[in-house]
């Protein structure tokens, strides 16, 4: 509540100083949105004020109509979007990777190994299930310490969604969400927190957003995908995961990119979404749209620099058509 009041006060304050667009939500695309916002400001003089308060907060704020746009890593179901009278479209695609702290390079993790580790059943690194996929590697007899997020997060949503699809037992016992009842492990706050713990604790494994793993020089594991191939996380394999997506505008682009078919598809990918209030004055939404249209045209390189995958051109066209249908473009 306090946050809402604060946001309200801030937005009124900002309105007094030139044109400002206020957004709030997911922290996963925050580095990119702030980079885009900076470049957009330099070009147009319009300020984008994006508060990375988390996907849950983003949805709540746009529901309460306190911001111009909300952002969420987990897409709203079409029924939910309808209920709150919201429009939704994706902006970029990213991936969640498994990082570990072991003196072993290029670790391969089979689906049953990942399930066993996160269910707390596989307790040591030299477990046969892990050895099977890494026959040529010298796996130590170190205890596995699972590191996961302590705060609710879109990254957790994507990762647990993958686990629910890949492991029947996980689906039955835990399920998926922005926060879940973890069977094992230590909680750390934020992607930075998880990255930091992994670096410190020997034998640790955890999931972080791709960019954080690269920035922190963490080792990342190849993961078995739906077709049984081991795929390395990279911009290409994320793209492959997104290639099968239908991106149906009539469903408000509701699309989950985990566990997608495709030989080269990375199984733990996800898109991040923007939410707009349909009952705002048209001009207010147009301002937001102009920013994202600009980002779609000029922001791809910035996205790649930060290890996000830009949307394919035809998806962008679909989104523009969706905007047009709402009278914003």
């Amino acid at each position: 509540m306090k946050r809402l009041v604060l946001a309200g006060v801030m937005s009124t304050l900002c309105l007094a100083f030139g044109e400002v667009i206020n957004g709030a939500g997911a922290s996963f695309p925050y580095p990119l949105y702030s980079r885009w916002a900076h470049a957009y400001y330099k070009e147009t003089g319009i300020r984008i004020n994006y508060q990375s308060i988390g996907s849950g907060g983003g949805v709540r704020q746009i529901r309460n109509r306190t911001v111009d746009f909300g952002a969420s890593d987990a897409p709203l179901k079409p029924s939910e979007a309808k209920k709150y009278n919201l429009a939704q479209f994706p902006t970029v695609i990213g991936g969640v990777v498994l990082s570990y702290n072991l003196p072993v390079k290029d670790l391969k993790l089979s689906t049953s190994a990942v399930c066993g580790i996160f269910l707390g059943k596989i307790k040591r690194w030299n477990h046969p299930e892990i050895k099977k996929a890494n026959p040529d590697k010298d796996l130590p007899d170190t205890r596995i310490t699972v590191i996961r997020r302590s705060d609710g997060s879109g990254t957790t949503w994507i990762f647990t969604n993958y686990l629910s699809k890949a492991c029947p037992e996980w689906k039955e016992k835990v399920g998926y969400g922005k926060a879940v009842n973890w069977p094992t492990g230590i909680g750390a706050k934020g992607n930075e927190g998880v990255a930091n713990y992994i670096r410190r604790v020997k034998g640790a494994i955890g999931y972080v957003e791709f960019a954080y793993a690269i920035e922190n020089d963490l080792k990342v594991a190849s993961v078995e995908n739906r077709e049984g191939n081991f795929v390395k996380p990279s911009v290409e394999t994320f793209k492959a995961a997104a290639s099968g997506a239908k991106w149906d505008p009539s469903k408000d682009f509701y699309e989950i990119l985990t566990w997608q078919p495709g030989k080269n598809a990375y199984p733990i990918a996800g898109a991040t979404f923007i939410l707009l209030a349909k009952d705002y004055p048209k001009e207010r939404n147009r301002k937001v749209i102009r920013f994202f249209d600009w980002a779609f045209r000029k922001g791809d390189k910035m996205a790649l620099d930060l290890h996000y995958v830009p949307l394919p051109e035809e998806v962008k066209e679909k989104i523009r058509a969706y905007w047009r249908a709402n009278g914003w473009y």
């Binding site: 509540m1 308060i53 988390g54 996907s55 849950g56 907060g57 949805v59 709540r60 205890r143 310490t145 302590s150 705060d151 609710g152 997060s153 835990v174 399920g175 998926y176 969400g177 922005k178 926060a179 879940v180 009842n181 973890w182 492990g185 230590i186 909680g187 750390a188 706050k189 927190g193 930091n196 713990y197 410190r200 604790v201």
Partner: protein, 315 residues
């Protein structure tokens, strides 16, 4: 004449309403908000069900406060248990043993420790203390105390440095300046007459401290302890980096846990469902009642009673 009276009146009204607002209305408003927001969770889980519920499952929307409540109390009491002897030691040194010229140096140093923002202790704990604990202290504890039957169970588990022990240790450093300042003041209030009487009976410095100064300052020590407990309850936030954030009751000191403040700070922004959010408010309500209750106990039972004894002893 007229003007003076108006100023007088106004100041009474203004200052009175400030006191009223800050002292009465704000706490009541806070309590009101917590109560209202906690209603959905209260309806779903009840009082006993929530207080003693051990699951915290946001997916199935089952929430129980016991792990967080237990974690809060455990960390608070352990921290106070570590801080008490150290604080009394510091206070004895500054008040009685330290050469007069060095006194300001030491007491300022301890007070400065209290001026460091608590989150900095949290970061320092994570980057400096936790690795030390994980690599040296905790394996050592496991190899020594861990071998003792029954008692050794307290030291089972993987030494990660992110656990109950490290949290309590860092929290104790946070409350030491606070506690030692109160205790030192209590020591300094010992009438010189009493101490001199002790010396004239042939007591050594140590005997005077043990048999005159400490018994005399006992109410002050108790007061310091309780005030620090209250502070530690709220400060559990600063150890957010160190608790490990797990909603489970630890069976060993080397296991991660969570506290009420840490759970709220971690989960509030992303609490999507209404029951989830409401359960966090419910947790906050429990903490409110807990620290309020502790303060009441401190104020009316212990401080008043001991104060009376203190006064009687002086006479």
């Amino acid at each position: 004449m007229e003007r003076k009276r108006i100023v007088e009146r106004l100041s009474v009204v203004f200052l009175g309403s400030f006191a009223l607002f800050v002292g009465m209305v704000f706490p009541l408003l806070t309590l009101g908000v917590l109560l209202i927001e906690a209603i959905p969770a209260f309806e779903k889980f009840g009082l006993i069900g929530f207080l003693f519920g051990r699951t915290w499952d946001p997916v199935r929307e089952v929430f129980g406060a016991l792990p967080a409540l237990f974690g809060t109390l455990l960390v608070t009491f352990l921290a106070s248990a570590i801080a008490l002897p150290v604080s009394v030691g510091i206070a004895v040194f500054i008040a009685e043993i330290c050469p007069r010229r060095l006194k300001p140096l030491f007491s300022t140093a301890v007070e400065l420790l209290g001026a460091i923002p608590s989150i900095i202790y949290g970061m320092w704990g994570l980057f400096v203390i936790a690795p030390l604990m994980a690599e040296y202290v905790e394996p050592f504890l496991q190899n020594t105390f861990g071998r003792i039957p029954l008692f050794g169970r307290l030291f089972e588990g993987v030494p990660t440095g992110v656990d109950a022990l490290t949290s309590s240790f860092v929290l104790s450093i946070m409350i030491i300046p606070f506690m030692s300042a109160v205790v030192k003041d209590a020591f300094e209030m010992t009438p010189p007459l009493l101490k001199e009487a002790g010396y004239s009976l042939g007591a050594t410095k140590w005997e005077v401290i043990r048999h005159v100064v400490i018994p005399y300052a006992l109410p002050g020590i108790m007061g310091g302890l309780i005030l620090s407990l209250g502070r530690a309850l709220g400060e559990t936030m600063a150890v957010a980096f160190l608790t490990g954030n797990v909603h489970r009751i630890p069976t060993s000191l080397l296991e991660p846990l969570t506290t009420i403040t840490v759970a709220i700070a971690n989960e509030f922004t992303e609490a999507v469902s209404d029951v989830y959010l409401s359960s966090l408010y419910y947790l906050a309500l429990i903490l409110f009642v807990l620290s309020f209750g502790l303060l009441l106990v401190a104020k009316f039972l212990i401080l008043e009673r001991l104060g009376r004894r203190w006064r009687a002893a002086t006479l």
